[in-house]
């Protein structure tokens, strides 16, 4: 086993997340893609922790998991709020800040 395999997997995951954010319009898919990108960073941290034989990477990954949890709570709350306002999940329709009608 070499770290390069894990790095390859992490970069692939990050790219898939980026593609999901860019190409889909469903708010939930956008949210889950962002989570996937954050988790791929987590995988890089864990690999570095093993590579350098140091617990700092694992510690940072645990802190990052807490950040991901906070992000999930806020994002889901925002999705519920937006859905209650306009009964849609289409991210293209939410442009309130651009032009106030």
């Amino acid at each position: 086993m070499t770290p390069n395999l894990f790095f390859l997997l992490a970069s692939l995951l990050f790219s898939i997340g980026l593609v999901g954010v860019v190409s889909r319009r469903n708010l939930f898919v956008v949210y889950m893609s962002i989570e996937l990108m954050l988790s791929s960073v987590n995988l890089v941290f864990a690999t570095l922790s093993r590579l350098l034989g140091d617990a700092g990477g694992s510690t940072m990954a645990i802190l990052l998991i807490a950040v991901i949890a906070a992000e999930a709570a806020l994002f889901l709350a925002i999705i519920i709020h937006l859905y209650r306002q306009s009964k849609t999940l289409d991210s293209d329709l939410f442009s309130d800040l651009k032009e106030r009608t």
Partner: protein
Amino acid sequence: MPEFNLELIIFSILTLFMLGGAFTMISAKQTLYSAFGFLVSMLALAGEFALLNSKFLAIAQVMVSVGAIVVLSLLTILTINTKVENLPKEPYKYLWIAFSLLIVSPFTLLLYKVLTTLPAHFAQAQTITTKLVGKTLFSGWVLPFEIVSILLLVAMLGAIIIAKEKLKGENS
């Protein structure tokens, strides 16, 4: 004959599940199927952490990411319960996905090349034990730990306030 490498086989299976879950997530039409793909992906990620000898991280991943975040997402999706015809219309979805994959792939290569400038061998088989992680977390990483606890508190309050329904007499 290639040598029999159990770690590599487990890694391949986990990678298959992970990439399959991720692709299901970004390509499924129904939101619920995307969430299930996300669930599979997160579980496989916990397996990768276990493969990297970070036991505590694997357990934390299963408990927080799978047990809390994915379940919360599933609950939200089921509560909102959008009909298929109310989902965003995406007639050129696969075209968009293929196009953005094409755009993103050089970036992936760059990311991989940057990450692999590090030495290509693991240090001697060393397990990052829970004790070691705890000692690191509460000695050198106390300030980030406290900041994260405040962040979680603020995020909880913010989520409650954002998702709260407006009361009758309250004007926007």
